[in-house]
């Protein structure tokens, strides 16, 4: 369109000299989703609720450490969560213990809240229609929402590890760590292993995030999507505990959730990490496709 053309096809706004938006689409360079992703993260992390979730997770290692410290004779070996009896000897174990404690419920709970909120939350606020009108693009928005939820998973596990490490250093001595294979490693390498386990747990949560994303495209009520996602995480573990359903176990979302022991051997065995990653990828592919199918064809009436 030449600007000399008469008629009403002129645009409003002070940027008019930059060219009217009726310019051919090809001549304008659409950005990738980076600024949308940054904005998504800033919405997640500027939200008081997110910090409440992370604070609740951080409270777990603190609670464990304080409880152990206040008990005179220390925990009985072999009772309570794994690693609990090692805490008094080594503060590094606080983070491990807290992760193990959080895996069955607390982490799925927080991830369910964030993943279930992805699309349904925008629909509930009514902001979904405005994002689509901008247009953010439905596929692009779905991708950004998933990546945002995945980054939250990482920040959730890192919060536990970080809070556990800090409180562990504060209340307990620091020492060598004896691995499951019997080898002993120093604090530096132990910290690395701790981060590896955090990575493993993060990967474990990615499938659940995809499930939550899909459920989130089904409703305009975020609480419903959150609850459904959490129920699925719990149900998966219940089924996993029933020997009668053993044939189903390899396909369960939570099948490898507690299988990070391989990362605590010398040399490290990556088998369970790989199996877990593959299973989670399967869930991401399946529920990502379902979410795509649903969201790209859905009438947004919220």
């Amino acid at each position: 369109m030449s600007s000399a053309e008469p008629g009403p096809a002129r645009a409003i706004g002070e940027r008019a000299p930059l060219g009217s938006p009726s310019g051919e689409g090809e001549s304008r360079h659409p950005s990738l989703g980076i600024s949308l992703l940054v904005s998504e993260l800033s919405v997640i992390y500027r939200r008081p609720r997110t910090w409440a979730l992370l604070a609740a997770l951080a409270a777990v290692p603190i609670l464990i450490a304080v409880a152990v410290r206040l008990t005179d004779d220390g925990p009985q070996p072999g009772r309570g969560p794994p690693f609990l009896d090692s805490i008094t000897n080594n503060g590094l174990f606080v983070g491990f213990t807290a992760l193990v404690v959080c895996i069955p419920l607390f982490l799925p709970l927080t991830v369910g809240v964030v993943a279930g909120d992805t699309i349904a939350g925008e629909a509930g606020h009514g902001t979904l229609r405005y994002l689509l009108i901008v247009p953010a693009g439905r596929v692009r928005l779905l991708l950004v929402k998933y990546v945002g939820a995945a980054i939250f998973c990482l920040s959730a596990t890192l919060t536990i590890v970080l809070a556990g490490t800090v409180i562990g250093f504060a209340l307990f001595p620091l020492g060598d760590v004896t691995l499951l294979s019997g080898d002993t490693i120093g604090p530096g390498e132990s910290t690395l292993r701790l981060l590896l386990v955090a990575g493993y747990v993060t990967v474990s949560l990615l499938g659940l995030s995809a499930v939550g994303l899909f459920i989130s495209t089904l409703t305009d009520v975020p609480v419903g999507a959150m609850a459904a996602t959490i129920v699925i995480a719990v149900a998966s573990q219940v089924v996993g505990a029933l020997p009668q359903l053993a044939w189903l176990h390899p396909w369960l979302l939570s099948n490898h959730w507690l299988g990070f022991g391989d990362l605590l051997r010398q040399p490290i065995s990556w088998d369970s990490f790989g199996a877990n990653a593959l299973l989670q990828l399967g869930y991401i592919a399946l529920f990502g496709a379902l979410a795509y199918g649903r969201f790209t064809t859905k009438d947004v009436l919220s």
């Binding site: 008629g7 096809a9 409003i12 008019a16 304008r28 800033s42 919405v43 405005y130 947004v300």
Partner: protein
Amino acid sequence: MTVAGTGLAIETRGLSKRFGHQDAVDDVDLTVPAGTVFGFLGPNGSGKTTTIRMLLGLASATRGEATVLGQELPGALSSVLPRIGALVEGPAFYPFLSGTANLMRLDSADRYASGSTRRSRVDAALDRVGLTHAAGKRVKAYSLGMKQRLGLASALLSPRELLVLDEPTNGLDPQGTREVRNLIRSFADDGATVFVSSHLLSEVEQMCTHAAIMSAGRLVAQGGLDELRRVGDAHVTVVTPDAERARRRLAAFGFVTDEPAEGSGRVRATVAVEAAAAPESIVAALVADGVRVRGFTVEQVTLEERFVALTGEGFDVVR
């Protein structure tokens, strides 16, 4: 890429949307000329928002086609939407973010908006709707009127050729309503087409050049405001002892006379407004025929009566 081809900003053919068993929008042929301020008028539940959702690609049409800014929907959505600013079914924002942060968020979702000018464009949009002083407040603390303005600001972040505003004055006080009306006029002065829905006739009469009237999902009338005023019926009443002769004369002018009321000395007749002759020439013809005209009145249906006649009266939602 042009609207100049047809001169239409929006054109729909048989556009329909069915929810379950209900035709929320039924066979709508909308024609919105470019450069107009177009009122989309209809009582609550008449299908205005649903039509707008289809025009913006939020909902798919059950039947029918739509062309917006010269491009066929829904195929061309991704290239049409950047040229449109819109407000649908009231404003919606993240309550825990400030007005500025909300607009920044929306703008960063726009693939074609430049990041380097983002802040200045957001500030300019806030300034244009008079929200500069409340820009840093969380939207949670905004009144409905402030949210409505923020919604308008969000439609102005980039230059737009078409503004689709769904009931933009809902929830505003009279002062706010007047300001929004002025804003809409300024958009039009800038050359944009403004498609604005409302359930209030008075509002449409005050700010629009064209209008379409919806009733129970159907489009019952559309055109220029003057044109809409012209359609409908005009009535004349002649007070005369020569009723029979008057009736014959009026029939020659195209009037259909009502059933004569016995001995009332009055003749009431009706004709379509566009076919009505000038009152003075009717009186002259009557007098020339020897009709003793003792009284002559002309009533023309107002747009308001017409709106009520088309859409039904009263407060009840039709469906």
